[in-house]
């Protein structure tokens, strides 16, 4: 398995390089510059700023310098926040986005899996149908509608939780609810169909015939394979959640990676854009790998190659 992991990671390196290179040139190609604002700067001052940040160099020189820095994990200074480094911003953003992402996904799993099991086992029960309906409402309502609706109800009418902001536990409530809503229905459906398939398999009948307790059959023999689709769905979903969700962070004024990504793009903060792109790519690659490994652990039919 060690060799397999190594191989995957080695394959990931050229991919990362390609992503970074494309991003590097694309952002420089976009019209505008990091220091441009409505008030135009005198030419001499702009020249000083460019020199200070090495932006007066030709692109290929900047590119080589950037890659050199990156080799030492130095993402450079942010153009938007001169007193802060990109590495620091990434770390801060991740520390905000990751808890929200984890919490939202955990909540989605916690509701989605039991709900999916319920739907597979007792598809006609009233509670299953009610909750499933709610979940479908959650997945079909865009988060930029659901978020404000929740704000209106819980913050501006009931005054229970703050409508936006970051720093205390109570700030987590609405973004996590909004974010998980989109995933609950997915997870429930994946669990449901997986479980229905698994329950129809011959080995389940064998297990029943052996006289195993229904509980053991369900939890040990049916659920394990049934959750494989959920697991493979988890890798990329979690990567996107951890890397920050632009809309949610905007609506709830959360200083996470998604927020910085948008700001960086609008401000042409070249180094910050590149930093976030690399972090997101790494997260995506690693979490996909972790999901694959976990799959192999759960399913004896999958082997490392």
């Amino acid at each position: 398995m060690g060799r397999y992991v190594l191989k995957r990671l080695l394959f990931a390196l050229p991919l990362l390089w390609l992503i970074l290179t494309l991003t590097f040139f694309l952002v420089r190609w976009a019209p505008g510059k990091p220091f441009r604002r409505e008030r135009a700067l005198p030419a001499e001052i702009e020249a000083h700023l460019d020199r200070h940040y090495g932006l007066d160099q030709p692109w290929h020189v900047q590119y080589v310098n950037y890659l050199r820095g990156l080799a030492r994990l130095d993402f450079g200074p942010s153009y938007r926040y001169p007193a802060v480094t990109v590495r620091e911003l990434l770390w801060r953003g991740l520390r905000v986005s990751a808890p929200i992402g984890f919490a939202a996904y955990a909540l989605a799993l916690g509701i989605g899996i039991p709900l999916g099991m319920g739907a597979a086992l007792r598809p006609r029960a009233v509670w299953v149908r009610a909750l499933m309906g709610l979940a479908v409402f959650g997945v079909s309502t865009p988060n930029f509608v659901l978020g404000p609706l929740l704000v209106l109800l819980f913050s501006l009418t009931l005054y229970w939780v703050p409508p936006a902001g970051w720093g205390e536990g109570r700030h987590l409530v609405l973004p996590v609810l909004t974010l998980s809503a989109a995933y609950i229905a997915y997870i429930a459906r994946l669990t449901q169909s997986g479980l229905q398939q698994a329950l129809a398999q011959d080995y389940i009948r064998t297990a029943r015939a052996k006289g195993l307790r229904p509980r053991t059959i369900l939890l040990r023999h049916a659920l394990r394979p049934a959750l494989l689709p959920v697991l493979s769905f988890t890798g990329p979903s979690l990567a996107f959640l951890l890397a920050g969700t632009v809309v949610i962070e905007k609506i709830f004024a959360i200083p996470g990676l998604g927020h910085f990504f948008v700001q960086a793009a609008l401000n042409r903060d070249y180094t910050l854009i590149l930093g976030i792109v690399s972090l997101t790519s790494v997260l995506l690659i690693v979490l996909n790998l972790v999901a694959d490994i976990a799959m192999a652990r759960l399913d004896p039919r999958v082997t490392f190659r």
Binding site: A30, E38, E44, H48, P148, L156, P163, A253
Partner: protein, 602 residues
């Protein structure tokens, strides 16, 4: 997507709202003396010399105290680090007497040397300060900052002047080429310079930091010499870029000196936290000389830029006051009826840049016709709910009657039709114009409204609206690739010159291609005029020239408009939207702020 979100909340807010003339949302003063401000964006830098705009200024004027401070209502200079000052008769020499009690947060006294160091640093080319131009009134400041050379007459040892009485400035390249006798007819500036220098034995001199006209006479006396008479100099000394920075911290920590763990400041507050995207937290500075007067213990600035989110936070009682310009336009009509709403005049002009470099707008009649065809009254009434005023001139105010502002253009469709027909476009036939604006709800609405206004008067005109993302828009304007482009300009200090300087032929903020020597001369003359009334008259004449030529089409003047909880005192609407927090109080006692009474009253 965001627009959809705002509309969703907007509609719901409107439907769920309180009767008129009540307060908006939750009114519960914070437990401690804390003020929570919605500030609209993250500060790019808290270094007074590197901070680009008003978002930063709002915070740093409370961290760093200048020679003078803004009066919270009138914004006139009031004593701060300087307790007194003298001005000579020609308004060229200013002497400031510094307060002995003024201290840095390390305990070290603030001295005249701090200001000398700071202003030199602000002007140093390496600092690359975006606002250095605000210091150019000081002697030799511009030459030092831009690296330009002054020209010394070797016989008298004096600097040569240009036609406006200012010292002549040359780039090194220009000096070389004049020496070598180069310069064709295609380069009028070089020609003019050569003519000016003829007959002189001259040398080009580069200026150093020591040459900048600011000196410490002793520890507590600062003397400033200006390039030309500058009657309004004391309006400048409250600006962020004029505030002192702590040499020891700057030199030890470099770019990182403004981080909370390194920063040293001399104002009523000190920085305790800056988390990008989340907040900036200030705390009362116990070593401040006037600390007894400061009533707030903590101030939190929130950087959120989403207008709906900020409004939600305000309504939910998480924010106590918003700086101007952050209210969502869709909610204005409702918010204006609440008692939280505060508004007042604000020095901001909304206008169109006109590209005079190419046809058809190189023809002054076409420009004037377009300006005359806009019914600004209707536009303001229908579209701009905050109380914006129709604007016919470039400057948005008469500065309390001190400035004889020209009337400018008014709605006159007949005259507009005549002018356009005379220019060869009867009814607008054959006239196609590209109107550029940055994507955003308000700018789009204004663009569409103007399109309709023009069509009403000239049925055949074709206006193509082009919306661009902010940075793309800035670049397009800079390159001059437009016919008309929307622009707004707010004053740096409360004086018409702050606007008029921006249309000088040398200004980087004039991308219209318009240059008029008469205009330049009048503005430069005015800026060197010691007598305040004559100076205003000269500026008004300059503005008149500008409005005759119409390289800009004025639309409206803005207002300061924001929400303020009833328990916040000392935060006023003023023409630059500056709010020194030294004077702000959060009332929490029942007598000073009787919540029951306010709620019951309405």
């Amino acid at each position: 997507m965001e627009r959809l979100a705002s509309i969703t909340v907007g509609l719901l807010l409107l439907s769920a709202c309180a009767p008129p003339a009540a307060y908006f949302g939750k009114i519960e003063p914070p437990e401690e003396a804390v003020l929570r401000v919605g500030n609209g964006a993250d500060p790019a830098s808290l270094d007074p010399h590197r901070a680009p705009g008003s978002v930063e200024e709002q915070i740093l004027i409370n961290l760093f105290e200048g020679l003078t401070e803004y009066d919270p209502v009138t914004l006139e200079p009031i004593p701060a680090v300087a307790e007194a000052w003298e001005v000579d008769a020609r308004a060229m020499r200013f002497r400031f007497h510094l307060r002995r009690a003024a201290r840095w947060s390390t305990g070290r006294p603030v001295t005249a040397w701090d200001f000398v160091y700071s202003w030199r640093r602000a002007l140093a080319p390496e600092t690359a300060s975006p606002n250095a131009y605000l210091l150019y009134y000081i002697k030799n400041a511009e030459a030092y900052n831009t690296g330009k050379l002054k020209v010394r007459d070797r016989r008298t040892g004096r600097f040569l002047r240009d036609e406006f009485g200012r010292d002549l400035l040359l780039t090194a390249e220009e000096a070389d080429r004049i020496r070598r006798g180069e310069g064709s007819d295609a380069e009028p500036r070089l020609q003019r310079l050569r003519r000016r220098l003829e007959g002189f034995v001259w040398e080009a001199v580069s200026l150093r930091a020591e040459d900048v006209g600011v000196r410490a006479l002793d520890e507590h006396t600062l003397e400033v010499e200006t390039e030309v008479p500058t009657a309004f100099f004391l309006k400048l000394t409250s600006l962020g870029i004029y505030r002192p920075v702590p040499r020891e911290a700057v030199e030890r920590h470099g770019r990182a000196w403004t981080r909370p763990e390194h920063i040293v400041s001399n104002g009523p507050f000190r920085l305790v936290e800056f988390t990008p995207g989340r907040r900036v937290v200030l705390e009362k500075n116990p070593l401040y000389w006037d600390a007894a007067r400061v009533r707030l213990e903590r101030v939190i600035f929130y950087p959120y830029d989403e207008a709906t989110t900020l409004l939600n936070l305000y309504k939910g009682g998480e924010v106590d006051v918003l700086v101007s310009g952050l209210l969502p336009p869709y909610a204005l009509r409702l918010l204006r009826r609440t008692r939280d709403y505060v508004s007042g005049p604000y020095l901001l002009s909304y206008f169109l840049l006109v590209n005079v470099r190419r046809p058809p707008l190189d023809d002054g009649r076409v420009r004037r016709a377009l300006a005359l065809a806009i019914d600004r009254e209707r536009l303001c009434r229908r579209l701009l709910a905050a109380g914006q005023q129709p604007l016919g001139a470039f400057t948005p105010s008469d500065f309390h009657g001190l400035y004889p502002r020209p009337k400018g253009v008014a709605y006159d469709p007949e005259q507009a039709r005549r002018l356009l027909a005379a220019a060869g476009y009867p009814e607008g036939r054959g006239l196609r114009l590209r109107y550029l604006y940055n994507a955003g709800a308000l700018h789009a609405q204004i663009a569409e409204a103007l399109q309709a206004e023009w069509r009403r008067v000239f049925p055949q005109i074709r206006i193509e609206l082009i919306a661009q993302e902010w940075q793309v828009y800035l670049e397009t304007v800079r390159l001059g690739d437009f016919d008309l482009a929307r622009r707004s300009f707010s004053a740096d200090f409360s004086d018409p010159a702050s606007f008029l300087d921006s249309m000088l032929s040398t200004s980087p903020n004039n991308p219209t291609g318009w240059r008029n020597p008469d205009y330049d001369r009048l503005v430069q003359q005015a800026n060197a005029e010691p007598d305040a009334r004559r100076r205003m008259a000269l500026l008004a004449r300059a503005e008149h020239v500008l409005l005759e030529d119409m390289p800009i089409i004025p639309i409206y003047s803005s207002v300061a408009s924001f929400l303020r909880k009833p328990y916040v005192r000392g935060w006023h609407a003023n023409i630059l939207d500056r709010h020194p927090l030294k004077f702000v109080v959060v009332e929490r006692t029942a007598t000073a702020f009787d919540l029951q009474a306010v709620t019951r009253a309405r």
